[in-house]
Amino acid sequence: MADMTHSTTPHASETTTTARPEGNLVARFFRATEIDTRMLGMIGALLIIWIGFHILTGGLFLTARNLWNLSVQTASVAVMATGMVLVIVTRNIDLSVGSILGFTGMIMGVLQAQYLPQLLGFDHPAIWAVALIGGIVVGGLIGTLQGFIIAFLSVPSFIVTLGGLLVWRGATWFVTSGQTVAPMNPSFRLMGGGAEGSIGETWSWIVGIIACLAIVAAIVNARHQRKRFHFPRRPLWAEYVLAGVGFVTVIGAVMVANAYFWPINIARRYAEANGIPWPEGGLQIPHGIAIPVLIAIAAGIVMTFIATRLRFGRYVFAIGGNPEAAELAGIKTRWVTVKIFALMGVLCAIAAAISTARLNAATNAQGELDELYTIAAAVIGGTSLGGGLGTIAGAMLGALVMQSLQSGMVLLGIDTPFQRIVVGIVLVTAVWLDTVYRARAK
């Protein structure tokens, strides 16, 4: 174990960490920047997958179009993965997320396509919001019910949510006797992405700039806090490296999103509708960042805040580390469990909004197998099934890894059954790697 105590002396000077020429250059770099090697491994794996598919598909993968689609396709599972982290951290599992997605999606579909137009009038501007809130409430109630059974009736979460998997899928069918509900409300559909459901070039840059400012603010604030309490600080160059990496990522993502233009038919219709003359080379309107991606990022930020800055999050991790100690410390562990599952239900409903809006329909089969993708995303993202360990950002990155594999295989023309085989193998391998990693860490 490396000596970690050298820099914790009070009043550590600016140079303490760098003044110690120990280990090789790479080791020193990681220590100075405090980058989590596990997270880095995941980013490395993602890059290998991307470049590998790019070569195998003959240059189809790393295109603005594919990456933009990848981001939209990832959004729904990424939203659910943020909640699955908390579930798995407390040594529970939720197998019902795909079915809850299906059920809440169907509720939102029926609300906006059948009930609300009659109630509020067709094209009422609030329809999409009422439908969304309705779905979220239903998702929250389902989660609360499941959490209550797990926490207070002491039925293992595996069984409760396995039952939920069947119950809510069955309930989905009952809402419309199996009929698909379509189309969705035009405002609601913005949540699914597409040409309309993206924020365009200018706003994408504004979002990018805000993100860059947030990175700077976070680094400055962290440094200020450490200084105030005489904690060791990163060397300045490490702060610049971290900020630089952050900037490049954000700006790169915005540029990619802006490099994917509207499909020619949509652009032509838009031009006609707005009286813009159709130019010779066609009209190139950038998509910009898709709304579902923004929703997923917002979910990630909110969930990270909950997990790391609030009491509730602290309790979640403490329960995962030692349930008995948490109970003896006076934490109401059962209520925490109920809240976790309620939150999971709400996130399922948000994911359902994204996926029904994207499909422009609510179907019976919506979200089937999503529980496996969600669990896989969380586990690949470093959430340990032994409990107590996991990050929201990791899980979202895990969702991106899963979706990259999926999209890459589609681009390669690999059949669905074989895709499932690969996904299954990846899941088992990820858990095995987690086991190896934890055994080493001891």
Binding site: I319, N322, A325, A329, G388
Partner: protein, 261 residues
């Protein structure tokens, strides 16, 4: 020692059973401010169970708990903490995956005015308390898992004294420790005693606690054999109480005392 008339804690006729087995039967013990009382007995004698009733981990089936002479309702660990009862468990009840500050404040986190966790303040206080308790402790940012048994124990003790405990329960406090750390815990007990805190020491090993304790209670088969001031009895006599239930002349017999034929 302060007022000797009203005990800080009085547990009267406490009974608790698990599935028909009487783990504790009509046990009565008391504790005065600034006093160290050892509760001794073999493994399974019921001493940990009795004391867990006080710390709120178990609910009693019968009997009364009086704190400063007034009846106290203790149904869960939160209730116990309201009465200033802090417990250091034998199993070192810490959450392994979070750091020392998070463990110290577990269940009683400091919060900023926006309701978020005030990690900076918690860590600063943790550094101060740990500095007093164990000046060698440096690993504040690491999960408790990475610490040695003694360091984990100092985290557990720091947690108990951080919140101005009036009654401290230590269940086998030195079981996981080396000789030097055991001596440190001994010094700490003396210091806390001077501050007027009442301390229950639970142990199966009389040598650990005899010199620290003012009084001993001995339990056997879920019953109190008897109690005595340590100055009135010898170690061997107390051993006789633990092993045989034989009450020496210097001690007050309880319901579990060996019936002399």
């Amino acid at each position: 020692m302060t007022d000797q008339n009203i005990p800080l804690v009085e547990m009267k006729d406490i009974s608790i059973s698990f599935g028909g087995i009487h783990a504790v039967e009509k046990a009565t013990i008391d504790l005065f401010p600034g006093e160290v009382v050892a509760v001794l007995g073999h493994n399974g004698a019921g001493k940990s169970t009795l004391i867990k009733v006080l710390s709120g981990a178990y609910r009693r089936d019968g009997g009364d708990i009086l704190i400063n002479g007034e009846a106290a309702e203790i149904k869960n660990p939160r209730d116990a903490k309201k009465y200033g009862i802090e417990t250091i468990y034998q199993t070192l009840a810490v959450a392994d995956n979070v750091d020392a500050a998070a463990n110290l404040y577990l269940g009683r986190e400091l919060r900023t005015k926006w309701g978020t966790l005030d990690d900076v303040a918690m860590e600063a206080n943790t550094r101060e308390v740990m500095g007093r308790l164990n000046p060698n402790f440096r690993r504040f940012k690491e999960p408790v898992k990475a610490l040695s048994g003694g360091q984990r124990q100092s985290v557990a003790i720091a947690r108990a004294i951080l919140f101005d405990a009036r009654i401290l329960i230590m269940d086998e406090p030195t079981a996981a420790l080396g000789p030097q750390e055991t001596a440190q815990v001994g010094d700490l007990i003396k210091q806390l005693k001077r501050e007027g805190i009442g301390i229950f020491l639970i142990s199966h090993d009389i040598h650990d606690v005899f010199d620290l304790a003012d009084r001993v209670f001995v339990m056997k088969n879920g019953k109190v054999v008897g109690h005595a001031r340590t100055q009135d009895v010898t170690k061997d006599e107390v051993l006789g109480m633990i092993i045989l239930g034989k009450v020496p002349p210097g001690a007050v017999p309880g319901p579990g005392a060996m019936k002399v034929a």
